[in-house]
Symmetry: C2
Subunit: 233 residues, 2 copies
Amino acid sequence: MSNDTIYNPHVSVDCVIFGFDGEKLKLLLIERTISEQNELYNDKKLPGSIILADEDLDDAANRVLNELTGLKNIYLSQFHSFGNPRRTENPRDVLWLEKTTQLKIGRIVTVAYVAMIKIDRKIQFKSDQTSANWYDLNEVQKMNLAFDHADIINKGLEHIRHKSEIEPHLLFELLPRKFTITQLQTLYDTLHQTKSDVRNFRKKVVQWPYIVALDELEEGVPHRAARLYKYKK
Amino acid sequence: MSNDTIYNPHVSVDCVIFGFDGEKLKLLLIERTISEQNELYNDKKLPGSIILADEDLDDAANRVLNELTGLKNIYLSQFHSFGNPRRTENPRDVLWLEKTTQLKIGRIVTVAYVAMIKIDRKIQFKSDQTSANWYDLNEVQKMNLAFDHADIINKGLEHIRHKSEIEPHLLFELLPRKFTITQLQTLYDTLHQTKSDVRNFRKKVVQWPYIVALDELEEGVPHRAARLYKYKK
């Protein structure tokens, strides 16, 4: 081991931020505009950042999330690190990163986090330089994304799918505070890529001790208003 | 972000290697000898390495495991990355690392893996400079370890405890190829810090479809020889 610089990759965090609008699972992505030979090129990337000099990994992920959304008390969990030397093989990604960070970029090892946000929470997108938006997961899976962000998203999805099977309460991080059984089922089925029977699903979940029926119906819907439920810790 | 070097931590992998000798859960640690003011100081560390210039994270962990034990086809799984800036605050750790790697060491982000080894597999400890040995987990938890390796071990233990609940077949990565129900119970109870009732435990596990009773008894034991079982995938 002689060449010191070679062995010093940059380290970054990337956040796979899931949301659910009552019908579809969504991802919060940042639009990136790159000027290439006098033409503008657009694509999307995960919110992320190179870690600061004296910053722990969790702190870096919290900073990214807070700078972007202004939200606190968000479910955030480290799930995997990605360090393939070829993840920076696209010159477009490297040029963009060198321009935005003013750093000379070689290799980057990134530590990935999942976050879950209730889409009905008011998000104040803070950062001026970035344009963040929610995109349908289906749509995202057809997009050209920066770096290996498509792989990171797939692994993040696998992670919350797996984790919410063991800890079903995680589903309620994504649902609105007051939700219908149909919304719960839609989220469940989207995550697990299943199509549950409506009556069986309802029978099952109303028995969960942490689901409480409210004396309220949903409002402003074109169909017959359904009962609202809430999650009790 | 102006000072480039500050933002380039080193990246390493560390392996929490579990083994089970039929009675106790064990960890494979490396003894480290440091000369300090003409006195020799001894402690233990996890097997690990700074990643090589063109090496993916999984490849680095496999290299460490293979260089150390000569074994292939070992269960190895990334579980968490540790990047607290204070993990290199002990000058002893930094001096030792700079001496063994010939690198100038600042901050190190480490990607941690768990591995599971059947202790009855013949291990050819390969590395000349290191002395690797199995230590009882109980003993390890009282030791002074290098860096934040005590934290990494606790998190690794939590990981396999959690993971083997969902995927009980992982227990058989640790058990000998032919094992008794008592060994299985001891491993299970050690991992989950429980004390199962012998008869209930036996009743439960003989119903697992992947456990097969053999026409063989254990040999060379001072007590009545018990039936051997094997795991069928």
